[in-house]
């Protein structure tokens, strides 16, 4: 993703959709069209609105879509974007039922489309393009790639890096749900290939085994660049959902301890707190 990425906003006329369209435009993102069924022919912040993604695609070329559609209709919006041929679908919406996501992610993959999210803050390439809801103030162009399961922690850590004189190449919030379109490992591999990125920060949480899989891949040499990790939820009790659907430990899978152990065995330094991350990056 870069400054030339052309973006469609699905749910552009809603409260979040219209506000963040304005923020993204201000950041320099190329938003070519918006979609809200029944609002075709209108405009939001001078962006033309269409009834369907297909209609929008007749008039504009787009590489990516960002979804602000309410949870009950968001899965339809994902299928619609895939069917219209969009290859990158950033789903901000939270509270989408997990089985719906499981099916739509499989559908998108089979058709060569990538979903980021759901329940995610999106992507930012600092000083180039923002496809998401990340607050611009936390970011500065630089050489660190960040991949994170948590929205606010992403902002927090980015701001810490900025204050320590480090910037970010690209920051991706992949979302906190149990089933998400793009995993920590997939993003880390992209960072590994990206000439703009020198080091990778992984922000994880309890639940699931994505972080463990990244650690194994690192150990096998599939990621060559230095990785620093942090995991939230050291003190979280088991089988309790911590704030969002993904941060829950069932059957003892994806505990804080198992993630830390995996990172340590792979030789990845682990920060005790988010505030230790800059120090580890500089050392």
């Amino acid at each position: 993703m870069n400054k030339n990425t052309r973006v469609i906003v699905q749910g552009i006329t809603g409260r979040e959709g219209s506000f963040h369209t304005q923020q993204m435009l201000k950041y320099g993102t190329k938003i070519v069209a918006g979609v809200t069924p029944g609002k075709g022919g209108t405009q939001v912040n001078s962006v033309p609105v269409y009834d369907t993604v297909k209609d929008a695609m007749k008039e504009h070329e787009a590489d990516a879509s960002i979804i602000f559609v309410p949870a009950r209709y968001a899965v339809d919006a994902i299928y619609e974007a895939v069917d219209a041929g969009i290859k990158l679908i950033v789903t901000i919406t939270e509270h989408i039922p997990v089985l719906d996501m499981a099916r739509s992610i499989k559908y998108a993959r089979a058709r060569g489309a990538r979903i980021i999210g759901p329940n995610c803050p999106g992507i930012i390439a600092p000083e180039e393009s923002l496809v998401g809801i990340l607050p611009a103030r936390a970011f500065k162009k630089g050489k660190i790639g960040i991949v994170s399961r948590s929205g606010t922690l992403t902002y927090e850590v980015s701001e810490l890096l900025k204050n320590s004189g480090m910037g970010q190449s690209t920051v991706i919030g992949i979302g906190g749900d149990p089933i998400i379109g793009t995993s920590t490992l997939e993003v880390a591999k992209m960072f590994d290939q990206d000439p703009e990125t020198e080091k990778i920060v992984v922000i994880g949480e309890i639940g699931g085994t994505m972080e463990e899989r990244l650690a194994e891949a690192y150990k096998r040499g599939e990621i060559k660049k230095p990785v620093i990790a942090y995991i939230a939820g050291m003190t979280a009790p088991r089988e309790k959902r911590m704030g969002h659907a993904g941060a829950v430990v069932y059957m003892g899978m994806g505990t804080f301890e198992s993630k830390i152990r995996a990172f340590k065995e792979a030789g990845i330094p682990v920060a005790n707190t988010p505030y230790d991350i800059p120090k580890l990056l500089l050392s």
Partner: protein, 337 residues
């Protein structure tokens, strides 16, 4: 949404999973012969806490349990059995497919079980005959068809997060019965099951409040930041009393209610609030905190950053609230105070 055991068992019956004969009651009842009286609570470890009792005297057992504050009971026939197993269906996050989990050790904490079999059963195909053969071979019993089909059907049709039978018993007369039920429905999909909620007399509640054991209340915005704050309290030698994520774009009213909720817990001695405002506006947060302080007379330590932070800090300072820029200092001060 976690279901009560008796609610889970009513769903079991619907999909053909056999359960013992029983009745739900909130008052003492007369019962012929040996029975199991099971307190209906949503918390686990009822057995260890003496809230499940095998008795010949149901009437007085219920009276005793009522004195402990239990309000609802499931009274079931006592079923002599020779073996106990474990069976559940949940989502495998790696493959994004439902997973059947079986164990030859039942009645235990499955996390501790050494003998566990996991079978991925993809959504496109559902349970097939060969899955059942494989499961029956592993457990060494026959007649699992309805049970596995039923667990899977509940998981998919009711958007469950977890459907668990523990223990699943092989009775002395060769039947297979679900002696317990644990069903957790996915909150995000409850809108599709309004009929079921109405039937159970339950209401959809979204709550991100989690109770812990310590004495420092924890509030943050965003699950990750809130968890990190909770962990930091612990790393600094304190003990978190709870976890409350106010979520994105929290209003003054919501912040006020959240602080009151955390502050009114008698174990909470002080409250730590960590906010990075993106969608959330710091002035709204500050006003909510100030409103809550009229009712909550406990020390509050706040770190505010992000959207409208200057305004938010000003509001807090004018009302005598400790407001910080530095999280580590804020948490350090809170723990030591």
């Amino acid at each position: 949404m976690k279901l009560y055991e008796y609610e889970g068992k009513s769903l079991f019956k619907r999909v053909g999973i056999p359960v013992p004969n029983g009745v739900v009651t909130s008052e003492p009842i007369r019962w012929q012969g040996k029975a199991v009286v099971k307190s209906q609570l949503l918390e686990g470890a009822r057995g260890k806490r003496g809230l499940v009792r095998v008795t010949e005297d149901v009437y007085n057992t219920i009276l005793e349990l009522k004195k402990l504050g239990v309000e609802k009971f499931l009274v079931e026939e006592f079923v002599p059995h020779e073996k106990e197993f474990y069976a559940s269906v949940l989502l495998d996050r790696e493959t994004a497919e439902p997973m059947l989990v079986l164990s030859r050790e039942g009645g235990i904490d499955v996390e501790q079980a050494k003998d566990v079999k996991k079978m991925i059963i993809p959504l496109e195909r559902g349970v097939r005959s060969y899955d059942i053969v494989e499961a029956e071979k592993y457990l060494g019993v026959k007649g699992l068809g309805q049970i596995i089909q039923g667990l899977y059907k509940l998981f998919v049709d009711y958007d469950a997060e977890l459907v668990e039978i523990n223990p699943l018993a092989l009775t002395n007369d060769g039947r297979i019965l679900a002696l317990d039920s644990k069903v957790i429905l996915e909150d995000n999909a409850l809108y599709r099951h309004e009929d079921l909620l109405k039937e159970l007399g339950r209401q959809e509640v979204r709550d991100s409040y989690v109770e812990l054991e310590g004495d420092i209340g924890i509030i943050g915005n965003g699950a990750g930041l809130t968890m990190a704050s909770m962990d930091l309290v612990k790393l600094n030698g304190g003990n978190p009393a709870n976890f409350l994520d106010v979520g994105g774009g929290a209003s003054r009213e919501h912040v006020k209610e959240s602080v009151i909720k955390v502050g009114s817990n008698p174990r909470v001695k002080k409250i730590v609030i960590n906010i990075y405002g993106g969608i959330t506006r710091c002035d709204e947060v500050a006003l909510g905190i100030v409103d809550a302080l009229k009712e909550v007379k406990k020390p509050i330590f706040v770190r505010l950053l992000g959207t409208n932070e200057e305004l938010g800090k000003k509001i807090l300072r004018e009302n005598g609230v400790n407001v910080y820029d530095d999280v580590l200092k804020m948490i350090g001060d809170a723990v030591r105070s």
